[in-house]
């Protein structure tokens, strides 16, 4: 019984790291641009399709698939920001909401037109391999996904903390006007930030592609999951996204074990409401949004 619980919790932690990466993408974009990307789930689904093509068809290792997804989705996000999102950054939230809902409909429509509504299983050899560590028996795919996600989160954190671009990004997040005054190229910072955010979602998608069937309709679920994760952690907080992802991952896994499967989907929301009652801004929420 104990080993069952340990297994479930370990599985939750592993998937939670990937959720953390998804939420990180959303939270970086929000923290810098004050924009909530309602098309974030579509970015994850794009990543899943990239994983589907690379892993399933060309049979490349999952880590390489993640790298391909990172490059493709970064360019995609960069272009999307420069062409569309840029025009709406200073508009009220409800206009941004409409624009992103429009983008989300557009993308899921394109996915539906290109790949059809049927789920495409990405199951490969990888999906069924397991690893035993002491009492734990874990999916090899999950371990790879979690390790890659964890490394990426750490690398991104270090990059934002120590690099020159990271400093300008944090400067722009703290004070946009001040950044402009000292000569930051804010439009470029915004475009790169959006690119990084979508790349996080895309990589997470590619990493979990052996675990989820590629399907256009998954996008809404991922968008909402990312929302819940960032609110639990605190919108705009780097550590909050990670902690939120782990919390949701473990909570989901425990709920699936203890209750019915539908409870598994409902639990993140219940958790969110409970957290909002006690810590309305999430674990590490900013004082003023």
């Amino acid at each position: 019984m104990l080993s069952l619980w340990l297994n479930v919790i370990a599985g939750g932690v592993l998937i939670g790291l990937v959720y953390g990466l998804v939420a990180l993408g959303l939270t970086i974009i929000f923290g810098v641009m004050r924009v909530v990307n309602f098309a974030h789930g579509e970015m994850v689904v794009f990543g899943i399709y990239i994983g589907y093509w690379t892993v399933r068809i060309w049979d490349v290792p999952i880590v390489l698939a993640a790298a391909i997804a990172a490059v493709v989705m970064f360019v995609f996000g960069y272009l999307l920001e420069t062409l569309v999102v840029k025009r709406f950054v200073n508009r009220p939230h409800h206009y941004q909401f409409i624009v992103f809902i429009g983008l989300s409909l557009l993308f899921s429509g394109v996915l539906l037109m290109s790949f059809g509504p049927d789920p495409r299983p990405t199951a490969s050899q990888l999906s069924f391999q397991t690893v035993s560590v002491g009492p734990l028996t874990l999916d090899w795919a999950r371990i790879q996904a979690a390790a890659t996600a964890g490394l990426l989160i750490a690398a991104l954190g270090a990059y934002l903390k120590y690099s020159a671009f990271g400093r300008s990004l944090r400067g722009a997040a703290n004070n946009r006007l001040g950044g402009l005054v000292v000569g930051l190229n804010i439009p470029r910072v915004y475009a790169v930030t959006f690119g990084i955010g979508t790349a996080c979602a895309g990589v997470a998608g590619a990493l979990i592609s052996p675990l989820f069937d590629a399907q256009p309709y998954l996008a809404v679920d991922f968008t909402l999951l990312a929302f819940v994760t960032v609110i639990v952690g605190g919108l705009g907080s780097f550590g909050g996204a990670l902690l939120g992802g782990l919390t949701i991952g473990v909570a989901e896994a425990i709920a699936a074990l203890m209750f019915t499967p539908s409870m598994k989907t409902a639990l993140p929301y219940a958790l969110l409401i409970i957290i909002l009652i006690f810590r309305p801004r999430g674990f590490f929420g900013a004082k003023d949004i």
Partner: protein, 343 residues
Amino acid sequence: MQRTSDQASDIKRWGAGALVFAALAVVGGMSNAYVISLLTIVLLFTFMGQSWNLMLGIGGQLSIGHALFVGIGAYAVAILNIKYGVTPWIGLLLGAVIAGFVGAVLAWLSFRFEVRGIYFALLTIAAAEFARIMFGGWDYVGGMQGLFYQAPSSAIDLGMLRGDARFYYFVALALAAIGVAGTELISRSYWGYVWRAMRDDDEAARALGVRTFRHKVLVVSISAATAAIGGGVLGLVQGAIFPDSIMGMAISVDVLIGPVVGGLGTAFGPLVGSMAAIPLHHAMGALGDALGLPGLNSVAYGAVLILVVWFLPDGIWPSIVRLYGAIQLPARGPIPQLRKVEE
């Protein structure tokens, strides 16, 4: 002098409103079944758009989860009517009370710690999704299989709110008219002024002695209750309700499309916006089906949404008013209607 011109413009505004609804009533008398059923949906979303509009356009609180309140209203009517044979009038009332209470609790939860803006918006959508999943797993309310009304007879029964498609068209028309008139009346009432003050500057309003916390809870609660009434009727019109179709994110989006596309904070905006957006959505769906392209519907709808916000930032209705003002301006001086847009 100012007063008489205000009164004259008032009469003209109400007259114009009455004329529009009279025209819609004539349309309802003449059109075929397809147009009637489409316009019924448009008018219901006009009404729900007004309720959403009250919350953001006047109260300054953004909700992107109005499907929660719509769904509560629809389920209250359906459960009472289908399971116990109670008249929908009681269901509508009960649904409004429950939704108003739920809205007040949500608002209380977040505003008590000064959580506002996008946090509150995300809370609304999370609450809506939570409710949708809960209702999907709850056998008493039919679960994912939903609840079905008995097939409507052609006989019109006002007491049980049952009738044919044309009957529901006029019910929806009456609701939309109440919504437009109600928005106008509320926005000119004491509450309207207080809410706009609170929307524009929370701290200044508080300094003037407005208990903004109470008023925020109040505006969310009233908006939720009215959305539930719209939802109750929407369920009756559709003849069946499922958690995914009545509480899903699509409903939240459809509710706010009308006001945003039509013109936020205006009395006629939601009508114009719903009139433009919902038929477009249906037409694109039909075109996609005809061409065998399942995604065309959402691609076209998404593109249009982006383009409207891009090129008509204030919405369609203020643009029409401005055009009208520009034509009239040289002869008559500032047009009073312009004032409405600025509000």
